[in-house]
Amino acid sequence: MIPEVGSFSLILALCLSMILATLPIIGAYQNNFLWMSMARPLSAGVFVFLAISIAILAYAFVTDDFSVQFVAQHSNSLLPDRYKFTAVWGGHEGSFLLWTFMLAGWMLAVAIFSKSMPLEFVARVLGVLGFLITGYILFMLATSNPFDRIVPLPPIDGADLNSALQDFGFIIHPPTLYMGYVGFSVVFAFAMAALLSGKMDAAWARWCRPWANIAWAILTLGIALGSWWAYYELGWGGWWAWDPVENPPLITWLFGTALIHSLAATEKRGVFKAWTVLLAILAFAGSLLGTFITRSGLLTSVHAFASDPDRGFFILAILGITVGGALLLFAFRAPLMKSEFGFDLVSREILLLSNNVILVVAAASVFLGTLFPMVYQAITDDLISIGPPYFNAIFIPLMALLALLLSIGPYTRWKRTSTTYLMQQLGKVALAALALGVVLPLLVTGQISLPATMAVAIGSWIILAMLQDLVNKTANKATRLKGLRALSFSYYGMQMAHMGMAVMLIGVALTSSFSLERSVLLSPGQDVGLGNYVFQFEGTAPVNGPNYVGEQATFIVLQQGEEIAILHPERRIYLATNTPSTEMAIDAGFLRDLFITLGEQKEGDSWSMTIYVKPFVRWIWLGAIFMTFGGILAAADKRYRRLRRKQTESNRESEKSNSIGGELPASS
C-alpha cells in the first residue's frame, strides 16, 4: 500500500508541475498578477510531493519491501542500513527520482531567494523549471517507475546492491554530482526567462551569477568526488579515465566555467550577452547529454545502467524538445540582445573572451571524442573506441594555455590595459615562476621531467601573480589587514578558484610524470621494492563482513628501513550476488600516496597484487576543493545581498502598481 502512495504522490507532483509549466508563463504574458504569483506555491507543492515520493522509496528500502521491483533489484536484507538508504540512487529508476527531486529542491530555492527579482521574471523561471520537471516525471511514470511491484510473487530476498557501490564514495558522489548538474537547469531557466521576455540587462546577469557560481562549485566538487572514488574503489590507481560517462560532466563543467566568466563581462560591461545565454543553454544540454549517455546504454562504460532503448528514446526526446526549443528561441531573440562593443585588444574583455574560446574548444573536442564512436557506428556499422591519448593530446595543451592566460586576467582592466603595465607587473613573476618550475620538482623528486617543470612553472606563475596582486591591492591602505578586509568576497572567491586550478595542475602533472606501478606475485614473508619504499607481505587472514566474506592481507611499508605504514588490502566475495570485489589499502599523504590492490590467490599462500606509488595525487582533489570553496565565496559576495534589499523595496512598488493598474505592457 505504501509504495502506491509514492506513485500517487509522483502523479500529484506531475499535475502541479504541469500547472506550473503553463499558468505562470501565460500569466507573465498577460500580466495576470494572480497567475504569476501562483508560481511560488506551486513550486513548493511540487517539491513537497517529490519529497514524499523519495522518502517513501527510502522507506521501502529500509523496511526491505522486496515486493517493489526496484528494491528487490538493488537491496538485500543483509545490506548495511546506510547502503539500504543510499541504494535509493543505486539504479536507474531511483537515481532519476533523486535527480528530479534535486531539481525541485533548486526550484524551491529559487522560489525562496528571488525576492529581489520582478515577479514576472520569477514566474517565467519557475515555469521553465516546472516544464523540465513535467518532462522528467512523465519519463519516470512512462518508462521507469521506481514503485513498480513484482506481482504476484515477490522474491524472499533482494539481489543486493552492486558490490562496487557499497562504499562511502557512493553515499556522497551521486547526490553531489546531481546537485551540481541540475543546478545548471536553474541557470538555463534564467536564460530562457530572459529570452521569453526579450529583456536582458546587467540586472539579469547579476541575478544569474550567484546561482551559476553555486551550481558550478557543487559540480566541481561532484566531479572531484567521483574522481577520488574511482581512484580508491576501482583499483587501477587512476583518477580520470576519459570514460564516456565521465565526459559529459566535464563538458558541462567546461561550459559552466566559460559561463561564469562570460557572466562577469555581461554584468560589468554589458558585453557578450547573446553568447552568455548560449553558454547557459549549452551547459544545460551537457547535463542532459550525461543523463542520456548513462541511461540509454549506448556506450560501454563502468557507469552504464542496465537499460532499454525506450528510455534512451524518451530522454532524447526531452533533450530535443528543451534544447532544440531553447536554440530556436535563441535564434529569434539573439539579434535583439545588443551588446555594447568598446574595448581594446589588450583588455579584460579580450582575456575573458580567450578564456571562453579555449574552454568551448576543449568542451567541443571532448564532446567529439565521446560521441564519435556512436556516430561512426551509426554510419559504418563498425564499432570503435577513442582512447585516452586523443583526449590528452587536445586537453593538456588547451589547459596549459588557459592557465598561462589565467594569471594575466586579474591584472587587466576593463576596456583597455597598457602592455607596458602588464610587463612591469608580471615580468618578475614570470622569471620567478620559471625558476621554481626548474628547481622545485628536482628538489622534491630528484628527477627532471619536462611536463613537471612546465606544470610547476605555470602553477607558480598563477600563485605568485595572485600573491603580488594581493600585495598591490592592499598597498594603499593604512595597514595590510585593513586592506585585506576591504577586498570583496567575489575577489577572494576568484583568487581561490584560480589557485585551485594551479594546485590541480601541479598535482596532475606530477602524478602523471612520477607515478610508479608494479604487479607482482608474493608469498608471505617476501617483500618488493618500489621507488624509495619496500613493501613487506606478512600474509592473509580471513575477514567477514555483514554481507561478504573475504581475506585481509597485511603489509608493512618500510622507508630506509623504518616502518612508516601498515596496509590491509582485502579481497571480498559478496554473498548475495557471489561477486568478488577488491578493497584497496591506501596510505594517503600530502606529497604521495602508497596504494596496494590485491589480485587473487595463486599456488599455496602466494597472492598476485599491484603496488603503486603516486606522488602529489591528493593535489588534484585539493585543487578542486579550492575551486568549490572559491565558487561559494564568490556567490556569497555581499553585493548580491545588498542589491536584494534595495530591489525588494522597488519591487514592492512596482508589484503594487502592477496589481492595481496592470499598466505595464506585456513585453514581446
Binding site: N162, L353, L383, Y390
Partner: protein, 153 residues
Amino acid sequence: MKPHRRKKLGIILFIAAGLSVAVGFTAFALKQNINMFYTPTQVAEGEVGVGLHFRIGGMVKTGTVLGASDSLKVNFVTTDFVSDVPIQYEGILPDLFREGQGIVAEGEMDAAGVFQASRVLAKHDENFMSPEVKAALDASGATADNHMPGGEN
C-alpha cells in the same frame, strides 16, 4: 569600414583562425587514436593485420582460463561461439572477469596468433552486456542465452 567594425572583424577572424587550428588538430588526434573493434570470427578469418592495436570482444570460453602459478600471466580463450581467439594477459584481471562472461580486451595479435592484451574490461553489472560483446554474438548468430553457463556447455 568603421574602426569598431574593423576591430570586431579582427576578433572574429582571430577566433575563426583559432578554431580552424583546433579543428585540424582535433581531427588529426582523433585519427591517430581510433581503436577498431573486431569479433573473434573476424580475427580468426584473418581480417586483422599483425601489429594493429584493436579491441576484441566475446565470451570467456568455459574451462579455458589458465593462470601461471609463478607469475601474473594468464591465458584464456574468447569466443563468439563460432570462432575462438586465444588471449594472453599479464596483470590482475578485473573483479568481474569470469568464465562464461562477456569481456572486451584491448591489444594486438602476435605472430603466433595469440592476442596480447594490454587491458581487459569486464562489466560491473553482470546483467548488462556491453554493446561490443552483444554485437559480436549477434554477428555470429549465437545468442547469449543458449550458451550461458549452466546451459549445454
